[in-house]
Every structure is written in structure tokens, then in C-alpha cells.
């Protein structure tokens, strides 16, 4: 088949992995950009989501933010940051990706904390817990599944979008695809595509496992029964999640 054999050959050549600007170096760059972007978004969005959610205020703004963010093309945001005074490169990419990771984290955190039963909250206060204790010991465990969903959505989005950065002068694994198009090298294009797709799938899988481990309650034990809960036909409990 056109190019697929070449792609296997490309991926099988150790030099393609280890040379300068090879797969390993680009993978490291890709992951570094992604991790920094997700952490930055988490630091910014999580406290706001907690504050708004446990106060039960600002639902209109959160809904508007998550809807509008869906309409903004990732490519546009990456390009706009690249031509701003920041200048194109990894810094602009990281900032653009962090902006993109904020809505899913904020929305899910907000929904998670708002969904905590008012009776539970009142009972906790009645037992003499302070405001801070209620948030960390009662609300957080109850909201954690949704918070983790937000984090997972954001992380997968960021890892996927980081590939697009190569179109506007950024780094990461997208460079392999972009270079392949420049050189009319089908094998390289497909190899890059496979690498990015596998990385996104592994990110999803890793975060599903992570959320199973950190979530308290019956979910924790079911690491082996991974598929069980998704089969029920419920939509994913998220307000914002789109492919990139």
C-alpha cells in the first residue's frame, strides 16, 4: 500500500529515533510543551472552578466560555500567538495550548463542585468542619471524577493540538508530518501521523488509569474492568470535549 511500508521502514530505522531532531528529541519537546501547558491551565483554572462551583455562582459565564471555546479553531489560536510579539516557537505554542486547556478543566471542575449535595455540605459544616476542610475533605473527593475528566480531556486535547504547532513554525512531533509533506515523502507523513495518534491514545489511557487510581470509592478497585462503565451509553460527563 502506498507509503505504509515506507512508514514501517522509517519507524524501524534506529537513526530516525536517535539523531538530532529525531523522533525521541521531538517526542521530548512535544511532551514538555504539553505538560507545561496542562499544568499552567490547571493552576489557573482549578481554583477558579472550585471557587465558582462551591459558591454556585457564574454558571452563565462558564457555559458561554465552554461553548465559545469550541468554536475557536485551535489552528487560529496557535497562529495568532505565533504572530504576536511573543514570536513563534515553543513559548507561543505553550501559551496557546494552555489557553485551550482552560475551558475543559474549568467547566468540569465547576460542574463537579456545584454538583455536591447541599445536605452533605451542611452536614459537614454541622460536624464543625471549617470552610477549608469542607472543600478539601468533602467536596473535593465528591467532585474528583469530574475534575479528572476535565484534566483528561484537556491533556488529550493539548497533546493532539501540539502536533498542529508544526504548521506555524513550532516544534513537536507534528514536524515529522510537516516535513514529510514538504518532501513529498508518504512514508514519513504516515509515520508521523501514527506517532501522534499513538501518543494521544496513550495519554487518554494513562489518564483513565490515573483517574481510576485517585478516585475514592468503588471505582478504585475496578482497574481490571476498564470498559465496564463506558458501555452504559451515558455521555461522557463533560461539557466541553472536541477532537482537535
Amino acid at each position: 500500500m502506498t507509503g505504509f511500508g515506507d512508514a514501517i521502514a522509517y519507524l524501524n530505522d534506529p537513526l530516525n529515533w536517535t539523531r538530532r531532531s529525531g523522533i525521541l528529541e521531538l517526542l521530548g519537546e512535544h511532551l514538555a510543551i504539553s505538560v507545561v501547558a496542562v499544568l499552567a491551565a490547571l493552576v489557573l483554572a482549578f481554583p477558579v472552578g472550585v471557587a465558582l462551583g462551591s459558591a454556585g455562582r457564574g454558571s452563565g459565564a462558564v457555559v458561554v466560555l465552554s461553548n465559545v471555546s469550541r468554536a475557536v479553531p485551535t489552528l487560529a489560536l496557535l497562529t495568532l500567538f505565533a504572530v504576536s510579539p511573543i514570536g513563534f516557537g515553543n513559548r507561543a505554542t505553550t501559551i496557546a495550548l494552555a489557553v485551550f486547556a482552560i475551558p475543559p478543566i474549568l467547566t468540569n471542575t465547576y460542574v463537579g463542585f456545584r454538583g455536591v449535595d447541599a445536605d452533605v455540605r451542611e452536614a459537614a459544616r454541622g460536624m464543625g468542619m471549617t470552610r477549608g476542610q469542607v472543600v478539601t475533605r468533602v467536596e473535593l473527593p465528591l467532585a474528583l471524577p469530574l475534575v479528572m475528566t476535565g484534566l483528561r480531556t484537556a491533556a488529550v486535547q493539548v497533546v493532539a493540538t501540539a502536533g498542529l504547532a508544526a504548521l506555524v513554525g513550532g516544534g513537536g512531533l507534528g514536524r515529522i508530518v510537516n516535513l514529510g509533506f514538504g518532501q513529498q515523502d508518504y512514508g514519513q507523513i504516515i509515520a508521523g501521523a501514527i506517532l501522534i495518534a499513538v501518543l494521544a491514545l496513550l495519554t487518554e489511557l494513562a489518564l483513565v488509569l490515573l483517574s481510576r487510581v485517585v478516585t475514592p470509592g468503588p471505582g478504585r478497585a475496578s482497574l481490571l474492568r476498564l470498559r465496564d462503565r463506558t458501555v452504559a451509553g451515558r455521555p461522557e460527563p463533560t461539557a466541553s470535549g472536541v477532537p482537535l
Binding site: L75, A76, T79, V177, I190, A197, A200, R234
Partner: protein, 232 residues
Amino acid sequence: MLSAGAGAVLAVDEAPNPWFDGSYVADNWDTIMGYLGEHVRLTIGAVLIGTAIALPLALLARRSRLLGGAVLGLSTIVYTIPSLAMFALIFPFTGLSATTVLVGLTAYSLVILVRNFLVGLQGVPADVQEAARGMGYGAVRRFWQIELPLALPAFMAGLRIATVSTVALTTVGVLVGHGGLGQLITGGFNANFYRAEIVTGAVGCVLLALVADVLLAGVERLLTPWARAARA
């Protein structure tokens, strides 16, 4: 301005590069409209084909738990594949054509739609189904007159999400030279970071998505008069 250019070597460093320029839009109106047309055609095509495949698939998936699980599992995987990888993987089959973009976009819209259709159909209460059967409704009539109206809000929600995200995703089609308004975004980037062109493309995409969403919301209102009556 005699001393202009003391620090700058190239004329381009001195040239103004505004974020938006009305004269750019006026001068390139035909080009912009051409890309807009392509963008709209790709979006409508992808959502329509996606719907045509998703509806039978959702009806089929509802029949058995196993099939439903398989459809949802597969859709999660497709959903996770980045668009860049998706287009690059389709490219060897269809080349540098709009078809490559259409196939990729259809895959994503299909995945969003099938989930929402399935959720909508599963949301029809069992009592209602049973009552309809008891009144002698056949499978076809039950679908059109009972299930479809009840599942319509979920269907329309799926259509809106699919449409808006398809509008945004179309821009990635620049990879094969058919990204609709996305062509303006990378075109401006390659034309020495010409901001006016980039912003025109980006704003055009967002406006298109919002217009599409409002239109679909209007259609939903027209199709579900009972929801309005209940709210009033």
C-alpha cells in the same frame, strides 16, 4: 523620518502590520468568499454524511449491549485521534483534495453524532415504548412518531456540537490545501506573518460557527413546539 531605518535593516521591519485591515477584506473579498464557500460546503457535507451513517448505526447499536459497547468504544478511539494524524493517514488514499478533508471531518462528526443519537434513543422511557406497542404501533411508526420526537433534543444537541466543531476542524485541512478559511490563517502566516489576513480567517471561522449554531437552535425551536409550550 530621515533617521528611520537606523536600527532596522529591512523595509519589512518598518512596515505597519495591523491586526485588522478593512482594505484587506475589501480588496480580497472574492478570495475570502471562495474560501468561505469551501468551508461551508465541507462542513455541511461532513455533517450530512455523518448523520446519514450515524442514525442507522445508533439504531443498530441500541439493539444489543455488545454492539453498543463496540460502537462507543470505537468512537472513543476515533475521537482521540488528532486531526493532523487523521488527515495525514487519509491523505495517501485521496491525495491533495477536498475529499481528504471531507472524509476526516465526516469521521469526527459521525463519532459525535452516533453518541448523541444513542443517548437520545436510550432516553426514551420504556413505559412510553411499551404503551406505543400496546396501542399497535409498528416499529417504523413507533420510531417516527414516538421515539424521534422524544429523542429530538439530544439529536439536535449532537448536531449543534458536531457542526460547530466541524467548522473549527475544517481549518486543519490546510495540511492538504483545502482548509476553507484556514487557508487565510496559514496563508497570512506564510506571507511574512501578515496579521490582517490571519485575523480575518480566524474571526471568519468563529462567526461561521456561531451563525451555524444559532441557525440550528432556531431549527430546534421550530421542530419542538411542545418544549416552548411547556416552558411558557
